[in-house]
């Protein structure tokens, strides 16, 4: 599925940046570019060395007043003039437009072709000035691609009709509503679960769950935990569902979770 040519020019050209700005390679060349080349800024990948236990690095700072320095140069074309409407919730059409644009991007063509993906979230996104798309209507689209067991996290520029930022990682985003429903369906249909349910038990909530230890299947596989219990009562059972194979992998009394 090839991306439409010159879509950026066809759609709302009046909102183009006032002065020439660098654009993603995929727009400038009209060809699909590797994910890294199209990022407008630093990639948000967990590749960065995680250092949660790092000790704070501190330096002397006698007082706030003494620490203050004169302002350096003019303030950027600044956040002060930011348009609040860019933060506004998406219309159904904007959400649909964003998803269409993403699925037409050649970098995720495999995902779109196989069609085993779930849309986790579509939300407005606003980038700070002076970034060249700071005044564009942006949408963050997060998709879980089951065909490749990966997370696609994209920033779609609706004004330019392009995917302006794309991260493809092994991160596990939250569950989509459809995944929650599937987990409930799989759990309630499982014979091992049915024999352990008590009268009045029903699915109370579906949690996004991941294992802490590598020997737990949910450590590396996309999983949900369905909590059963009586309405208004205590939970009775926790059922872990592997969403890659749609099967129950663990049934645990709630008190032993």
């Amino acid at each position: 599925m090839a991306p439409p040519k010159n879509k950026a020019a066809a759609k709302r050209p009046a909102k183009a940046p006032a002065k020439p700005q660098p654009k993603p390679a995929s727009v400038a060349s009209g060809k699909a570019a590797p994910a890294k080349a199209a990022k407008p800024a630093k990639a948000a990948t967990p590749a960065k060395a995680p250092t949660p236990a790092k000790a704070p690095t501190l330096a002397k700072a006698p007082t706030l007043a003494k620490a203050a320095k004169p302002a350096k140069g003019p303030k950027a074309a600044d956040i002060i003039e930011s348009d609040p409407s860019l933060f506004a919730p998406l219309t159904p059409g904007e959400a649909a437009d964003a998803l269409r644009t993403l699925t037409e991007d050649r970098r995720v063509a495999g995902m779109a072709k196989v069609g085993r993906y779930r849309v986790v979230a579509t939300e407005p996104l606003v980038v700070k000035p002076p970034h060249w798309i700071h005044n564009h209507r942006l949408v963050r689209v997060v998709v879980y691609d089951y065909s490749a067991d990966r997370c696609v996290d994209a920033c779609v520029d609706l004004d330019a009709g392009i995917v302006a930022h794309l991260d493809i990682t092994k991160a596990q985003p939250m569950l989509s509503r459809e995944e929650e429903a599937i987990a409930v369906s799989v759990a309630t249909a499982d014979a091992a679960v049915q024999v352990q349910l008590e009268l009045g038990d029903h699915p109370m909530v579906t949690m996004h769950y991941w294992g802490k230890e590598p020997r737990d299947l949910a450590y590396s596989r996309r999983s949900a935990a369905v909590v059963f219990g009586r309405h208004g009562g205590h939970p009775s059972l926790v059922v872990v569902v592997d969403l890659l194979d749609n099967q129950v992998t663990s049934v645990v009394p709630a008190s032993q979770w």
């Binding site: 303030k75 600044d78 092994k170 939250m174 509503r177 769950y209 949910a218």
Partner: protein, 266 residues
Amino acid sequence: MSNVINEANWKFHWRLTESAGIMIYLAEYRGRRVLWEASLPYVTVDHQRDALEPTSDGLDTRGPWWVPLGTRTLAGNVRVQPFRGGIELSADFTAGPYHYQQLWRFHDDGRLSPWLTIYGSGLHDQHTYHPHWRFDFDLDGAGHDALESFTDGRWQRVEEEGWFPHTGEADDTGFVWRQIDFGSNCAVHLRPHSWDDAELFAVRYHDGEWAPFSPRAAAGSAPFPAAYVGREPLDDQDVAIWYVAHVHFDQSFPYTAGPWIKLDGF
């Protein structure tokens, strides 16, 4: 209901997100920009066990889980209510045995309370909540900011990104961290709840390092926001901070977690 509120010396916008509760954005105090955006990206819950049961499957500890606080878990409506000396937003979220009330309280004297009240019994008594707030303060502009931590009896500049747990030390008024703006001398002070067992992650703002839609990074990797922490300098930069509380369930719940935030120099 309008999503722009202009009361009690504050002007701010809000919206309900898909997973991060009520988001506040473009907040100003006395006509000066304070905040680009702030939200509650996730509240994870993990469980502990006193002893292994004979029928145990051998996993002595389960991993954490969470459910988004947003449109799918909202119970009722988002409320906007004035109170003596300010205005507040509140919303209730329900997910099975977990119940939360998110609060944003704006005081006319420049204090701000992003809080979360935790109700509900959970699965059993042995569990801990980990609410994560993300604040992108832009004091009088996005750049030229820095972070300071009250350590060894004085405020000390944080040179680079990192993890800054509350050790119990605080200044005379209880504040532990502060973000300052060099150009204006404005500052935002943060005071943790004394029972929050709080910690702060400070990172340099980058487009692309938005709040992830889950704390879960790839298997074996550090979770977010720790996965964003590198060694970039923070001095004179655009700084984003994460405040994380760790609240163990006990019978005296509900418990209200979250920092006090106070503006200075506005």
